[in-house]
């Protein structure tokens, strides 16, 4: 999967963007996502009519599963690929619009807690991944990429770091595949663990936002648990994403000092270039809502628009996951990534429980 993604990323950079080529894939995202939504509604109604005890499975899971079935049992024609790749764009549109569901007071409280936890999580994850990389004799740059990917925000962070530290394309592909494979596993394991431990929505959301690496998977993991948990997961993940520039800058300076990457010129410009701009959009919408720029109905509409954007994202998460391609990736980076992820999941779980005790989430 990741090889395909990495290759398509590189290829796509060479060709000009043609909006028309995106339409078939976007339509496929919409059909798969909407089918998931219909399936949720149908099953709930059917279970109610027939007096069945059937767990309420959110559209999120159905959209991902339908996407997974299509991408793994059928060959998705090339015409759909550019549009499917837009799932990341819809994710960011959805996150900005989700800002409407946070008023300033929530944002300051939960955002402050998230940021404090994110800083601890990043420091511990970086140390852990470097220790594991050394123990398993991975190349230092592959270790750096895995550390950036698992501590901050998965694929985007790896791509940002790859250019900054002049890492090999192959290292980047390995790191991306490990992070994506583990993100796919987290999607299903985190909610199971959360339900078995009866975690509250805020606690689970924070854990998903801190422990799951890729933003799309973190959002989906939270949403799979509950709507409220999804909201908190996005906030925590956004706080984590906001740190991307600082960590990548640190690595760029480290490798430049060793003479193995180009020197960093203007550090402020570097930080701004790497800073995820959707974080600002998310804050802007939240501020507008806090100052009553929108009526109550309009805020509901913005929240619903965000849900529609996420619907396309979740369909994309399923459609771009190819289990066969995943299994072809190298084992060692995957083992290092998996070990690191399990430890980071345990660590972030401890952090969230600690925060719950201190702040009563």
């Amino acid at each position: 999967m990741a090889t395909a993604i990495a290759v398509s990323r590189v290829e796509s950079e060479k060709t000009p963007l043609n909006v028309l080529t995106l339409i078939p894939g976007i339509l496929l995202l919409a059909v798969v996502g909407y089918a998931g939504k219909l399936l949720e509604k149908f099953l709930n109604t059917y279970a109610k009519v027939h007096h069945w005890t059937f767990p309420n499975i959110e559209y999120v899971l159905w959209a991902i599963l339908i996407g997974l079935l299509i991408s793994n049992l059928l060959t998705v024609p090339k015409i759909f690929q550019p549009g499917i790749a837009t799932y990341e764009f819809w994710l960011k549109v959805g996150i900005v619009l989700l800002g409407s569901r946070f008023v300033l007071a929530d944002m300051l409280k939960l955002g402050g807690i998230s940021l404090a936890l994110v800083i601890v999580e990043i420091l511990l994850s970086l140390l852990l991944m470097h220790a594991l990389g050394r123990a398993f004799h991975l190349t230092p740059k592959l270790t750096s990429l895995l550390a950036v990917g698992s501590s901050i925000c998965g694929v985007s962070a790896i791509i940002a770091a790859q250019g900054a530290i002049d890492a090999d394309e192959e290292d980047s592909t390995f790191a991306i595949s490990a992070i994506l494979a583990l993100g796919a596993l987290a999607l299903f394991t985190f909610p199971l663990i959360g339900h078995s431990l009866h975690l509250g929505d805020t606690t689970f959301g924070l854990w998903a936002g801190l422990g799951v690496d890729n933003t799309a998977e973190a959002t989906a993991t939270g949403a799979l648990y509950s709507d409220a948990a999804g909201k908190v997961a996005v906030l925590a993940k956004t706080a984590r994403n906001a740190m991307i520039g600082f960590v990548v800058l640190g690595y760029a300076i480290y490798w430049a000092k060793r003479g193995q990457a180009g020197a960093v010129g203007n550090k402020a410009a570097f930080l701004w270039k790497k800073f995820p701009k959707f974080v600002l959009g998310f804050l802007a919408i939240s501020l507008l809502v806090s100052f009553h720029t929108f009526t109550k109905d309009q805020v509901t509409s913005l929240g619903n628009l965000s849900r529609w954007a996420f619907l396309l994202t979740f369909a994309g998460v399923g459609l771009r996951t190819n289990i066969r391609q995943l299994s072809r990736q190298g084992l060692r980076p995957f083992v290092v990534g998996a070990l690191g992820e399990v430890l980071i999941a345990a660590l972030t779980f401890g952090l969230v429980l600690g925060a719950n005790r201190i702040w009563g989430l």
Binding site: L17, K92, K277, A284
Partner: protein, 40 residues
């Protein structure tokens, strides 16, 4: 598309910036009551 946009395009804007522009535009249309009620 993601990387294409993020790597630069005709307007040299990143994927994030395009996402923010589209989201703010949608918010503006909701505010102006062009989209009255978005269902879910």
């Amino acid at each position: 598309m993601a990387s294409k946009v993020s790597q630069g395009n005709t307007f040299n804007l990143s994927l994030d910036t395009w996402a923010v522009i589209l989201a703010l535009l949608l918010a503006l249309l909701v505010r102006a009551d062009v989209f009255r009620k978005i269902p879910w």
